[in-house]
Symmetry: C2
Subunit: 124 residues, 2 copies
């Protein structure tokens, strides 16, 4: 595993690429929403109430560019745009799911560690 560090230039470390890519504020939330099946733009806004219109558009574009999400426009009035996971996106989500399980199981530990750390820096 560590040979990733020396054998490849830092920039192209594959794990880092996908983690920084999907590690922004909204990407996984969108991918999770789409795991339930194809959704329209406005449905995604309802699924993720805190996201702004701009960030939803922007993040969807990025995921589309990466080939993780497909975008199908129906030029009706009002316009209709359906988003869905591609096969690649679905296969990524199969990797994310166990990670999500780990996160759910261990988030308490991380939170506790943070409290310990913050407490001992303040008063110790």
């Amino acid at each position: 595993m560590r040979d990733i560090l020396t054998s490849t230039p830092i920039e192209s470390c594959p794990v880092r690429q996908i983690l920084t890519d999907v590690g922004d504020k909204w990407s996984i939330l969108i991918l999770i929403a789409l795991s339930g099946g194809p959704r329209r733009f406005s449905a995604l806004r309802r699924d993720i109430p805190d996201i702004s219109q701009k960030m939803l558009t922007q993040t969807l574009r990025k995921l589309e560019r990466d080939g993780l999400v497909s975008r199908e426009v129906t030029p009706s009035t009002p316009p209709r745009v359906d988003y869905d996971l591609t096969a690649l996106g679905a296969s990524l989500m199969h990797q994310i799911t166990p990670l999500a399980g780990w996160a759910v199981r261990h988030l308490d530990e991380i939170t506790a560690a943070r409290r310990r750390f913050d407490w001992s820096s303040t008063s110790g």
Copy 2:
């Protein structure tokens, strides 16, 4: 899976928390480096040549705060600081490893998708 979106406030989605946490520029590189065993500060700098001293310190502090990395100071002269994965950090890396495998297998596809996307926006 999608019930994460509605059942929990956005802020506390566990998957998002760890992905945004570990999704910054340097965290995984450090975690990968430490999977090879405990390392001193200066050894980590050599492992990850592009990282600045500031970012290495800063990221290590964050990982320590999260309970993923341990930090042991030997107050000699010159001082000596050893970093290592905690049990929690090691268990996280067991989840990251399969994701890393996926990344290695599919990065070409993502790169190709990006090229297609960029090409069709330019000339199509």
